[in-house]
């Protein structure tokens, strides 16, 4: 399973719940749905291409990690 971030086109924001339900039926384990059109969830690798093909989906990406330097670094 991969943790992914899906962003819906703004013109389809009113269909956000319907899109989330559809993605769920296609295998997305939904972690969070934000009202600004972003869905976070987990999916198997092979289910991802199909999810990406929905006309409402503007982007589907693997969730990024953010790091800052360790505490002993002088530059933060």
């Amino acid at each position: 399973m991969r943790q992914i971030i899906i962003t819906i086109y703004e013109i389809y924001l009113d269909r956000l719940t319907i899109v989330a339900e559809q993605l769920h039926r296609e295998g997305l384990v939904i972690i969070h749905v934000y009202e600004f059109g972003v869905i976070i969830g987990m999916a198997e690798e092979e289910a991802i291409p199909r999810m990406r093909n929905h006309k409402e989906v503007a982007s589907l990406e693997e969730e990024k990690q953010v790091h800052i330097p360790p505490p002993d670094s002088e530059v933060q």
Partner: protein, 409 residues
Amino acid sequence: MQPPKLGRQTFLKGNALSVASDNPRYTGRYFLILDNESKEVMEAIRRLEKKWRLSVATTADFISDPPDESRLKDADALVFNDLGVALVGVDEEKAEQIKLSGTGFLVVPEKVVYIPDEVTVDNDSNRGATWGIEVIGVLESPYTGAGVKVAVLDTGFDTGHPDFEGRTITTASFAPDETIDDLHGHGTHCTGIACGLVDVQGDRYGVASGAHLYAGKVLSGRLGSGAQSWILNGMAWAARNGCKVLSMSLGSPVSEGEGYDIAYERAARFARSKGTLTVAAAGNDSQRSKQRFEPVASPADCPSILAVGAIDPEMQVGDFSNRAINSSGLVDIAAPGVEIHSSWLMPARYRTLSGTSMSTAYVAGIAALLFEKYPDATPAVIETELRKIARSLPLPAEDVGEGLSMAPQ
């Protein structure tokens, strides 16, 4: 042509203001701007010669060379043929006469042009503040960010820090199974800059000392790492809770040619719609001393997020500070980011650090002061004001944007 007389008074009241500063605004010469089309230039020249007995040179005299004032010693006026403008060296009385004669000229004084002021920090004059606080004008600002909610999304916050005793603090952790406790120190340092006041010696190190702090933990553990979803959670939390300022001293490196992250942009736009201005660190991936320049990091590269670059005490760009390389990833503004003293985990209590993280926290604090000054303003209005009152620096906009962010007066 009379040479510009720097320091000379003109009949304009505005010039009196600048006498004290030894930086006069006007040269003592005047531009006559033709009301009509430039085809009237020849007629205007005749008028200057006949009516006002001026000796006139025109830029047509310099067909092969650029105009050079030193070759105009005997002329009283230089007409810029293509511009329909004449520069005249006459005394105030005559300029006033020309102005009042209604002969089709607009008379405006020639302005003195200066390079932006050199801003350096005098380390000997300890005014009871860190160099960063001093240089951005916090000590002169009447604002403290009183009552303005400021969200700092970071490694958490040392809520027991004695410098924050008695402050209004709301906390939330978006890092699973962790409390707000700062295990790294980064969050406590950045929060100190944005919302702190004075250290144990009474020296000022924080900007918005009256702000209501919203500390959100989005980076976990001692090493300070986080998932994008935690950060989106933190952004949504800040926006829904009415925070006016959202500060993110964090990011992921971006490659040349890479676009901004649409999920972050959407979250920042949502925040804007709720009245929240978002600032983020331009990133520390460059090594300018080795000719290595890296693009503004994510999420600072989003159009709806202000990207902050770092300035050192000599008013140079911090060696590590990233540059506007990708089309969407501009540097919007700069702030102190080298050798910044602020709060740190107890028992150490303080630490001096460098980075665009520190610069971001300064701008967040300044934005809080602006929201106090203009309580009904939208984030867009505050952003415009933030840019307007920034101090121009003789440095490329791709490195410092509008220049040094300044506290409102």
